[in-house]
């Protein structure tokens, strides 16, 4: 078994990934991206840049046109790869027939957990995300904040090695956002790889060790926050973002 970071397979390796939708829209153009095991990686870009398409390709939720997606060395469509990924989608997608606790237990079940294990883990997640008061409430009756907490709890339920958070704090109040980030930081500290998309640039700057900028389906830059600031002669990540997004994607060399 490989043990050093250099020997371990990347948490995510995307090679020449292209996705053309049925209506002809090309959401990803020959995209390459590597996220090392244990990284806290940010993916930034405007709406329609291809972030969610990329995430969907990793999570087996779209049919890719060409290219390869590997998760810890396994093709993304294989069962070991799927077992290794936890996804909190941007849109709330909860099962309306299930309660909070059932949502977590059933998710654990279809990710291979036995009932006792799933129940114990669900209780742990309910405590961590402060969902105890709504444990037996069906999901349509939850507030927006509670639904967001539940989505995150569900993504982490099966202890994934790669956690993908697609704008997890969209529409979330300041307190909950702080609370969520405390937990995500802790998780990262324990070795979990985090792939984050967000429109809160200060959040990405504070949290992510590495950031990739994506626009029109192409990766236009990738570095640490400091490296990006230096490259773009910018004082903040927000300035980097403005400069990077203001230049035609095709003319930018990927760092």
């Amino acid at each position: 078994m490989p043990s050093t970071p250099a020997e371990r397979p990347a948490a995510l390796e995307v090679r020449s990934l292209t996705k053309r939708y049925g209506d002809g829209t090309v959401a990803l153009h020959d995209l390459d991206l590597t996220v090392r095991d244990g990284a806290f990686f940010g993916l930034l870009g405007p709406n329609g840049a291809g972030k969610t398409t990329l995430i969907s390709a990793v999570c087996n939720l779209i049919r890719i046109t060409s290219g390869d997606v590997l998760v810890f060395g396994d093709p993304a469509e294989t069962l070991p790869a799927r077992r290794a990924v936890g996804l909190a989608e941007q849109e709330i997608n909860l099962d309306r027939f299930l309660t909070v606790e059932e949502t977590l237990i059933y998710h654990g079940g279809w990710f291979g957990m036995a009932k006792a294990e799933a129940t114990a883990r669900a209780r742990e997640m309910i405590a961590v995300f402060d969902l105890g008061a709504k444990c037996d409430v069906r999901t349509p009756r939850l507030s927006g904040g509670m639904r967001r907490r539940l989505l995150l709890a569900r993504a982490l339920m099966h202890r994934p090695r790669l956690v993908i958070l697609d704008e997890p704090t969209a529409g979330v109040d300041f307190e909950l956002r702080q609370e969520l980030w405390r937990y995500i930081r802790r998780l990262h500290g324990e070795g979990t790889t985090i792939l984050l998309t967000t429109h809160y640039l200060e959040e990405a700057e504070a949290l992510c060790e590495e950031i990739a900028l994506i626009r029109a389906g192409r990766l236009i830059a990738r570095d640490s926050s400091a490296g990006l600031r230096e490259h773009y002669h910018a004082s903040s990540l927000a300035d980097v973002y403005v400069k990077a997004m203001g230049t035609p994607a095709e003319s930018q060399a990927t760092r």
Partner: protein, 251 residues
């Protein structure tokens, strides 16, 4: 296999949480058919194929209720899963496509069986309907539920609106069931209705189930089972193909 068990359990949970709609309502409406058409009007109708009318219609009513339940359960459950996008949680899970397909199909099959068993439990004391060929009955029910359960799954995957699901239920399945010999023997029909009945797939299922109960059918029971199997297998494979390929499920 745990994923499959939990997915099947989730589909059954949906049936049990909505049991008044999913099981009780169809049992009551079919029982009303049995009481109104069979017991109230039955005395005015001469025997059909040697059976009282109240007995003759029971197998067809049970078949009709079961196929409608198998279809509508799966089409609405899969459509809702797609519409609410909770299906992403299943599609991203480490499950084989055959497990997903089977898991989504089980809900409709179990719901239909619950309705069928309840109706048999009511029909035997009410009408005295016999079960002459239990093995044929089991095979016919199994094939019919696979056919209409898988059809429901396919429609749930293709449907763009809830109307598409109800269109197939109300404009295709219900009329086919009504003209499939539920309430009469097609031997009593003149040409061309007699011949047209033979291109109705529900006609073969109704007759196979009638043979299971009464030991009689309008056409050979082997033909009935062969036609139903000939439709059930490709329909289930179609549903399996959609899960394997991701077509319509994954953009």
């Amino acid at each position: 296999m745990r994923g499959l068990r939990w997915l099947a359990k989730r589909e059954l949970l949906r049936v049990t949480k909505l049991w008044t709609q999913t099981v009780l309502a169809p049992v009551i409406s079919s029982s009303l058919f049995m009481i109104v058409f069979g017991l109230s009007l039955g005395d005015r109708i001469k025997q059909i194929e040697g059976f009282d009318y109240s007995v003759f219609i029971v197998p067809g009513l049970i078949a009709m209720a079961m196929v409608q339940a198998a279809y509508s359960n799966n089409s609405s459950s899969v459509f809702q899963a797609r519409s609410d996008r909770y299906i992403d949680d299943v599609l991203s899970a480490p499950m084989h496509s055959w497990q997903m397909n089977l898991g989504f199909n089980i809900g409709g099959i179990v719901r239909a069986l619950a309705i069928g068993v309840s109706m048999v439990a009511l029909a035997i004391p009410l009408t005295g309907v016999p079960v002459e060929q239990p093995l044929v009955l089991v095979v016919a029910v199994a094939l019919g539920l696979v056919l209409f359960g898988a059809l429901g799954t396919v429609v749930g995957i293709f449907a763009e609106t809830f109307d598409h699901h109800t269109f197939v239920a109300n404009i295709v399945i219900l009329p086919l069931a009504f003209v499939g010999g539920v309430f009469y023997s097609v031997d009593t029909l003149g040409s061309p209705w007699h011949e047209l009945s033979h291109v109705n797939p529900v006609f073969y299922l109704v007759n196979a189930i009638r043979y299971g109960f009464l030991g009689t059918s309008d056409v050979a029971v082997t033909l009935c089972l062969a036609v139903t199997a000939g439709l059930a297998v490709p329909t289930y494979l179609w549903s399996q193909y959609l899960f394997s390929s991701g077509r319509k499920l994954k953009p």
